[in-house]
Symmetry: C2
Subunit: 613 residues, 2 copies
């Protein structure tokens, strides 16, 4: 391809909102342009690399027997109402009303579409397992899209969905997907960190996220220095830093022989530090109690404190009734933070957040700052496991300017529920090996998870098993964002001057720069390009009437792996030669022009083979 | 590919709404499924053929130097407001409001997106010409989607847009596109009829539509039996069936010596036939006068009858002021129908239609049925050319139960405007050669046209020419619908049993049917499949445990070009053989199994070469 016959508008300047490297370089190299907030157009150069990512994903999906289909992007709302996500998804779901007043969704993912297709076609266990995928346009109505295609509103995602007769079959496909994902990222030249993940609004459990390290990552990863274990902080557990907690009965027996509960007036205490000083204690001895508001709680609260007066919504199509709004007191050791994702999972809630001050006052009967589990009766107390291991603890007394000391779990309060609600932090110990954990910021590129029966049950998918019995298939779900995968390749492979493409994703593999584009140099440049193209190598020939310096600068920016320079001096050598420079390497070297095409082809094939291995 | 490892849910029955062959067969062959009204999912088999159409289009676009890009599907409304189409497009445009209240469009075409990209990048004439294209999802909010993917709401279109410094350059690209389109359809095995077309709501002129004959076609084509000329009835002209009309002055001079205008009472006349009888005349002598209501008229009406009282909207970004609503009297020879598309073009209106009866009464001062051009003063009279050639005519007198006889053009009335407004019909004479014209129904698969300056002017695109002068580029626009191209291939290539794919579009090229899938037959079938696949042939091996009859029936339905049957009898011959049947041909023949793969590969390559030539 001749440079003058393509459309690569390179730039020296970038817009002010391009704060990360991939956004800046994709913009400067003429790969993308912005058409609206979070809406990007890929220009010819960007699209070439984009299609390579797409093709790698397609090959790996086909390689494990997944079948490509193409459902519509615009989907009738009925399907989303059937799954319950029409209500659950909130404002990030882009909803459209057409001229006839029917509701539609611009798909952000396609559990509903795939499951609706399966529902109408599935009859027998013989059709299972079945793994289908699409590589298609998606939309998520981000309030604040940024970082270029890394977090756009419209994007392309490969999403696969699998259907199985049993969990063993699901696990087999899940494992195959995990291997395929590792191959995809390796082939793209990406270092990914696979971590255990919370499955978010998707429902289900058993999931793995494929993360890349990123300073602008919106995920915090907890990683073990020792064994390499990785988890999303939203789901990370750690080794307890306390002795195993006693059973409730054991705690009650032990408490009988300890100091009785004592109310202490703390009128002059203004800050938490003053409290420690006043009580001569520390955060580790304090039972911190936070009031949470939770939405759409699917847990049965009929026997919980305050549960009988809660409004309960009618069951949805999947038979689950939810409480639109409920409040909980969460008790946790004073030096530890509550993990709200874990809390939402325990409560089976669509959303949790700290309650408003007015609600705290109403529910605890005391000003903010004096909540505690002792005597709290209007709402259920959820205790983190740490609390059950505490001895001789301090907590708020539900009265202004008063605390309880010598609080004993089992004697002075019994939580309605006990669970792991702890936010793991750097310095905690690995749950697997006890090694020290550390934190990294990461961006999610892919996610595989076992969805379970959520959609197949809600949308009433049935098949007949070997015995003619009607059964519901179990489902898995597997996504990769193409745009952010491409952007992440640039994040990992660049220097100050531009992109340094891995051979597999490079828009072109060889950039030919004739120092001047005329006479013999022009002829030789064209011959070399032709030879390379005949060998299947993708070549960009810079035929612009520009100074060599401009061409070199653009060449560095574009990041094409091999740069071949044709100049008078080297062509006049005894062995007429060209100068070859591998992008990203310091030094260039001479290659005789006779055989240069063959030599370059060999080098490129070697690099491709290494990445695709 | 093994049949049991793909997902091809064939059916005997079809839904009631599948009334055309391609819809029925795509559904029965498991190529598509419906997810909503006008919303279809391509299943694996359908997607394979779809991708082949896509690839042919991509190759031909690249072949003429067009560059592929990928703009978003969801586009900010500002771009559509800048072009004026936000108002002009009406309800077929799907509009979305996002969570922040911003307006967006689900693209039906992309003049705005491409032009916005160009606007920001174009600086110099050296960048021109530039032809860009995308193959991307589109949406048109059809009120009544039907005929499967032939007229869906969501569809995929290749749309290209070119930008030029002058008309000569535009014409060169326009011609190249015309040749590329002919190649695309030939490679798909389609017989298309290229016809002159009206350019509809797109604006501009100089356009060609690529039609396929279809009983459900929504276009009427006018074709010449003699010279092969073709035109869309919306734009078709014909050779006049009357002597060249006189000039206004000549008509006035001639009229002075003819019978004077005479008012005739026609009280008992109820029907148009009775009128002819009563007046002893015929339709050809009658000046039919119809009152039309036109929307968004861009023609200057300031000097027209009634023009000064019209509401005039402020000029849009392109500087054109329009009249939101205006009325016109159209006078035409009684035996001819008005072509409303021609009328809209003459008036530069976004829409025209017959006025309501109340408006007719208000504007003509007479009941419906007595309109005529003589004495009509409240609105402009637009005369078809036929009227200017009429002598001694009859027309309505703008009074109940009265007509005028001996009406003479130029003496008794002078139209505000004269134009060709005639609807050409079968039997009229070809404008080029005088041959007899006939009609066909057709479906549009592609459309190329010279858009002119409509978008580049409205969206203020500028570049500097050789002399440093700022200029606006001229634009061309070129679309192909992929879904309906694929459906049209089936419409043209099928029989009662199923599809008969052209080799280029076939989802697989060889279907191998082992009569039973076990023992030696199974081994040989797998070896044959392997050999063919190694030669690059796409093979479907029917490994299902089904009766041969079921496999043959499905084979006919799927339409894979070559069917190879492996059975005990032929494999036990002295020269062990397989039975080969070309889909669509009556007879099968035996081929020695040794060398069968090579022979089939040769046949397939020959067919591919023939179509791709």
């Amino acid at each position: 391809m001749y440079f003058t016959q393509t459309f690569i508008p390179t730039l020296r300047e970038v817009p002010a909102d391009a704060v990360i490297v991939s956004h800046r370089l994709m913009f400067r190299a003429g790969m993308i342009r912005k058409l609206g907030n979070g809406l990007f157009a890929y220009l010819p150069l960007g699209l070439r690399s984009f299609r390579k990512v797409e093709q790698i994903i397609r090959e790996e999906m086909n390689g494990i027997g997944a079948l490509e289909i193409k459902p519509p992007v615009i989907v009738p709302a009925e399907l989303w109402k059937a799954s319950g996500r029409w209500d659950a998804m909130g404002e990030s779901l882009l909803r459209v009303k057409n001229r006839l007043g029917s509701d539609f969704v611009v798909s952000p993912t396609a559990e509903e579409s795939f499951t609706a297709l399966i529902r109408d076609e599935l009859a027998s266990y013989r059709q299972l397992p079945l793994a289908l995928y699409q590589i298609n346009t998606k939309y998520r109505d981000e309030v604040r899209p940024r970082y270029g295609v890394m977090r756009g509103r419209e994007f392309v995602m490969k999403d696969a969905y699998s259907y199985h007769a049993d969990e063993a079959s699901l696990d087999k496909t899940y494992q195959a997907m995990g291997r395929a994902y590792r191959r995809i990222f390796k082939r793209c030249g990406l270092s990914v960190i696979p971590v255990k993940a919370d499955s978010g609004a998707m429902g289900g459990s058993g999931s793995e996220e494929f993360m890349v390290e990123s300073v602008i990552g919106d995920n915090t990863l907890i990683l073990c220095k020792n064994c390499g274990f990785g988890a999303n902080v939203e789901k990370a557990a750690c080794k307890d830093d306390f002795d195993a907690p006693p059973s409730l009965e054991a705690a009650q027996i032990a408490a009988a022989s300890t100091q009785p509960l004592e109310k202490i007036d703390t009128p002059s205490v203004k800050t938490i530090d003053e409290l420690w000083g006043f009580l001569k204690t520390e955060a580790k001895s304090f039972i911190k109690t936070l009031i949470y508001r939770a939405l759409n709680v699917a847990l049965d609260l009929s026997s919980a404190p305050g549960g009988t007066v809660l409004e309960k919504r009618k069951p949805g199509t999947d038979g689950t009734a939810v409480y639109p709004e409920a409040f909980f007191a969460v008790a946790i050791r004073g030096d530890i933070d509550v993990n709200e994702v874990k809390l939402a999972a325990v409560l089976k809630a669509s959303e949790v957040g700290l309650a408003a001050d007015t609600d705290v006052v109403r529910l605890t009967g005391a000003p903010v700052g004096f909540a505690g589990p002792v005597g709290l009766s209007k709402i259920p107390v959820i205790a983190d496991i740490t609390v059950t291991a505490m001895k001789d603890a301090v907590t708020g007394a539900l009265i202004q300017d008063a605390h309880y000391a010598h609080v004993a779990y089992g004697r002075d309060f019994v939580p309605w529920l006990t669970a792991d609600l702890r936010t793991v932090v750097a310095g905690d110990c690995c749950a697997l090996c006890g090694g020290e954990l550390y934190e990294k910021k990461g961006n999610e590129l892919g996610h595989i998870f076992k969805l379970g029966y959520k959609y197949t049950q809600a949308m009433q998918v049935h098949y007949l098993d070997e015995n003619g019995k009607s059964r519901i298939p179990i489902m898995g779900c597997y996504g990769i964002g193409l745009d952010r995968t491409l952007a992440s390749v640039i994040e990992e492979h660049h220097d100050d001057d531009g992109v340094i493409w891995p051979m597999t994703i490079a828009p072109y593999q060889v950039l030919i720069i004739p120092v001047k584009y005329e006479g013999e140099i022009k002829n030789l440049a064209e011959q070399l390009a032709q030879k390379l193209e005949q060998a299947g190598i993708e070549v960009l020939l810079d035929d612009r009437q520009e100074r060599p310096g401009v061409k070199f600068k653009d060449g560095d920016l574009l990041g094409i792996p091999y740069r071949v320079i044709l100049g008078d001096k080297n062509l006049a050598l005894e062995v007429p030669s060209v100068e070859v420079k591998r992008r990203g390497e310091q030094d260039s070297y001479l290659l005789p022009i006779d055989g240069a095409a063959e030599a370059l082809t060999g080098l490129i094939h070697t690099e491709l083979a290494e990445l695709n291995r």
